[in-house]
Symmetry: C3
Subunit: 318 residues, 3 copies
């Protein structure tokens, strides 16, 4: 492919040789002649001078420093996504695999792909262009919008974890709600999304959810929120639009999280967050010997605080 054709296809400005031939995409530090590359992170800028790439996707701010053929973009990461799309050889075809099982009264739109051994319960809806990979389960009453992508092993619509306690024994709360998922939603491998108790668990348009995420019953997730791997969201919690939830984070049940909240990886949210902003509660790992000493002191932090206050009073009295 000629660089000019790529530039035109993705809407980037070309600097350099329009006839430069591009055979593939490659990271800067391992790119060779014929490769188009990119600057994914500032830390890789040092490779711009030494890369073997024939061309590179960059932002205007790096144009002066770049002596290679370049595609100049206002959003280089978006341009990279568009180029990768040109080189993709996706084997997913529209159609329902003969081993896929579709329950009663389901509505499957056009251009849907349903993979091998995927099982749909009754009264499910799947919007146009949506892809369910192999080995997905939709329980009854799961609605998927258009252009969604559901990865293998995902289970959507399993019963919420709701029980009454009858003198020590757990009595199951039958779950009468389903799951409603918007358009352009991606759901990762082995992720589980529970059905609602009386109303649907709801996932807004453009939400992206990574692998091994747990979404409890009656949860609502606003449009364009991104949820990284291994996040756990307990039941009846409402998350706003355009939030970022880092990997391994945990969110308690029955709370409300505002729009544009960023929860950093492995943080644990146990109360509502009414204001946009960045929230954290993770500790970085340290050498264990040091860590253990500090943890041991932490067990007495309340006492330390009181002793500090006591000393302050003694000093004030002097």
């Amino acid at each position: 492919m000629k660089l000019k054709a790529i530039a035109d296809s993705i809407g980037a400005r070309l600097k350099g040789n329009p006839d430069c031939l591009i055979n593939g995409l490659s990271p800067l530090e391992r790119a060779k002649a014929g490769d188009l590359s990119f600057l994914s992170h500032r830390q890789y800028k040092k490779y711009l001078g030494t890369t073997g790439a024939s061309a590179v996707i960059i932002g205007a701010e790096d144009e002066a420093a770049c002596t290679l053929n370049a595609l100049i973009s206002e959003n280089p990461r978006l341009s990279l996504a568009k180029v990768a799309k040109l080189f993709e050889a996706d084997s997913t075809l529209p159609g329902i695999h003969p081993t896929a099982l579709i329950g009663e009264n389901c509505e499957i739109a056009d251009f849907v792909s349903i993979g091998a051994y995927t099982v749909l319960g009754n009264r499910c809806k799947v919007g146009a262009g949506t892809v369910l990979k192999s080995r997905v389960t939709l329980y009854d009453d799961v609605k998927l919008g258009a252009n969604c992508l559901i990865h293998s092993g995902a289970v959507i619509g399993s019963d919420g974890f709701g029980f009454a306690n009858d003198k020590g024994a757990w009595v199951k709360m039958p779950h009468l709600g389903g799951v409603s998922i918007g358009n352009n939603v991606e759901i990762g491998a082995n992720t589980a999304i529970d059905r609602g108790f009386l109303e649907d668990t709801t996932i807004g348009d453009g939400v992206i959810i990574d692998n091994l995420v747990q979404v409890g019953h009656n949860v609502s997730i606003g449009a364009r929120t991104a949820i990284a791997g291994c996040v756990a969201i307990a039941g009846s919690t409402s998350i706003g639009e355009s939030c970022l939830i880092g990997g391994g984070a945990s969110i308690a049940g029955h709370i409300q999280i505002a729009d544009h909240v960023h929860i950093t990886a492995v943080s644990s949210v146990n109360h509502s967050l009414a204001l946009r902003g960045v929230y954290s509660s993770g500790f970085p790992a340290k050498a264990s010997a040091v860590w253990r000493k500090n943890v041991a002191r932490f067990q007495y932090l309340d006492e330390m605080a009181k002793r500090l206050r006591h000393l302050e009073r003694l000093m004030e009295e002097e």
Copy 2:
């Protein structure tokens, strides 16, 4: 359905119009005429005066404050479970789906439901009334009691994570045990329960386990213990009866946890807990700028404690 019929069916005391017609169940704040509703949490009590519901399930303590038709119950949550059961339209039928695969020498009791693409190894037992949803795997030698419910994607009886180290290389410990699960157990979607090394991993009667939970080899879980989503239980640990393990909690291997222990969400237990009670180790997320400052100080907490002690000594000497 008339309110009187519901009251009789669930054993609640009726206050108000016995002929009131009920068409469905709905949360207080969105209930309309024809709906039966309930007070799931004290924070919703404010809606009791304004709800459009035709009737409400409450405890005796709220009877005076309630001017609606009401079902008065000693255990309103249990009554709610019973009412939801009346409105349930479960599509699960007894029977073995034609695509389910049953290994050799299995014993499948009556009234069992085994879903599509579910695979049972050899020598498995499934008790009466037990339901395995679609896409469940039981390895060899897994015994399930009566009236259990196993959700899609669950894997029961996979090899425990046990290896010997032979000069740097890992040598697998073959696992000769199986898994024994009692009656009335529910196991969530994509949960994994490993087989024992020599003896069975055991799960007692009435245990409830949510989605994406990991139960290691040789673990024993006492009757009626509840385990929320994304909990990790390492191998050879014994958990007592009627425990509550909050979502995202982690429990180390080779420890004993007494009956009636409550571990709050995201806590990490690394030593035996011999006494009933509530245990925690989670931190709530805070604004990241504040959080980072405190974390930075934490790295020097041991030093701070020593400096505090030093100051105290100086003061004592004066």
Copy 3:
């Protein structure tokens, strides 16, 4: 089986009666006549005097204290693995189950076992002696070496969680890489390993990965590293050889971890670790009332540190 035959088979030194008959393997505290047992942990040494076992596997350091028939081994745990292998009745047979689906242009070596409802995409390779249990998914371009074991529910090669942001909307980065897995690798139930963006996600020889682990795109894991259950590894991170990653640990993206690093359970690593050693960030659960007091103080730790410094200055001035 005679004890002598077992000793010869596993290469252990026999002490006592070579004709002692062994029918099975059992833990020390529950072993009976005919059982071979072992000392798995120092805490069980007390049972050596009272066990009903007919023989025991021990190290030379316990030989003097042991009056039973014994198999003396330089690596008792390795000997135990070898003995367990003798008693194993594994039902896994080589062969491709008739319900397994193999994509186009796959290369399947000899002595491979592929279980029921397992799905392979296009251009996958499976090395000799490798076992894929039932209900595994390999996406396109996944290469498995020889003698690997992949447990049920594992998903290998799902799309990495990579998106560009286009004015608030997420645009998927098509993933052109695959997954390359070495020889002698074990991957646990319901574990997910994402494909790389341009190059393969790579897992070295002899790596062992437990259940419900998340491995992000472009991750590289060095040979013989062991990863316990529920670990989350974010994208583009490189982990060295012979590392130990404890259960529930989280590892951030775009970092490098040296060889022989041990990360203890539930720790969270958010920066590169260039030196071998043991690293931690977990807190052990404590009685909640005490825990909450200390957490409340932690919110003011930075302030406490400043107050302490202030007191020190006052003392210095005196």
